[in-house]
Symmetry: none
Subunit: 127 residues, 4 copies
């Protein structure tokens, strides 16, 4: 069953988006397989100390994305294909990169400076 215990909720982004993102990351990381279960909405909301509606919103959006399918008895299973996982990964990466690039350009960085800055932050965050 997909595990949410490692998820640290932040205050600056909507909770339901963090839940969605967490599932997506598990999918693209390969740490979860199609057919795996997700915790019931009730259980997860209790575990995270979050409003059940918030969990419901996340699950619903995942369903619309086609990643998730829910059945009677409050059982929800992942229903993604390898292609979908690759798509999600590409989409997340592209969004992140494009966001950074546009900001760096607005701030007057050159391509080389941007690369250097990324390298530096990479190192710092690793330490």
């Amino acid at each position: 069953m997909l595990d949410f215990t490692g998820l640290r909720l932040q205050d600056d982004t909507p909770i339901y988006q963090q839940l969605i993102r967490h599932v997506q990351l598990c999918v693209v990381a390969g740490s979860v397989q199609p057919g795996d279960e997700l915790p019931s909405r009730r259980l997860l909301s209790a575990q995270l100390g979050v409003n059940p509606n918030t969990v419901q919103k996340a699950y619903r959006q995942l369903e619309e994305e086609g990643l998730l399918r829910s059945f009677a008895g409050s059982k929800s299973v992942l229903t993604f294909t390898p292609g979908m996982a690759a798509d999600i990964r590409a989409r997340l990466l592209a969004a992140a990169a494009q966001g950074y690039v546009s900001q760096a350009k607005q701030l007057g960085l050159s391509a080389d400076e941007a690369a250097a800055q990324i390298a530096q932050h990479w190192k710092e965050e690793t330490e």
Copy 2:
């Protein structure tokens, strides 16, 4: 007087934040000097087709940041030091880079892959 005519308002982020950001960018870009005037709230709101209160909100926040100083009945002038401009630039850059790096790491990129991806998006956006 600081110019807002080049500013295209998007509707996915609050208008007042876009106004703040525009002023900050002008400051870090060096296209304005301390002592330069800002358009009056009424004038700017008319130019942008925006409510005066929205402009007021942006101006007020800039004032709290120390970039701006307003006097009743008088003009509003920029009051930033070179150090503050550098600080803002560094803060914006660090936030952008750190955001990208953490995302790329979560998605399992290596440092080299990240750099390559940035370079690619840089080229694409320039075209």
Copy 3:
């Protein structure tokens, strides 16, 4: 929940500042604890017969001061430390004292005369 029913609004100072001050006084007086809730903007505005935006302005400023934390869709709770409470108290006291002292000096009072005058007004206002 922090109580505003004892608050009598004057019309010589901005309402939002009176709201801020009321919260600050409750904090320094120790009549509220960190974690205590504040009434929702809608509720408080209805109670006081004031526009919701006015309450919002006060709450926002308290949030910037770090006394308050708001979450979309959730309650607003006080988030101050004992040190912050002491700071606020000291700041308010110092401002008041310093203002009086500078005025009294400008008017040519001696230290003793000032003390005597304060004592007299203290008595008069108590009666």
Copy 4:
């Protein structure tokens, strides 16, 4: 002629009020006599780098208070009696003391603590 050169304008209070206050202080301090002239509105506004209307507003209010009288030829002379000077002094003192006392009480000070605090600020500001 009443001298404004020692006046340092602050940003937090209206300029015209600072001008009025300056004249009042000169009167209660005895550094000026009935019949003494004030600089012309034009001259004073130029000296202080202030809008002529601002000076005009201050002079007009002083006239309404009976401290000042203006004649053709833009000549303004002080027209106060010793009793008026005493009145002004008493009024300014009472306002300052009453303001401090009410604030100190709201912050939970005792009369003794208030006196001690005033004494301390008195000493500090003198140093």
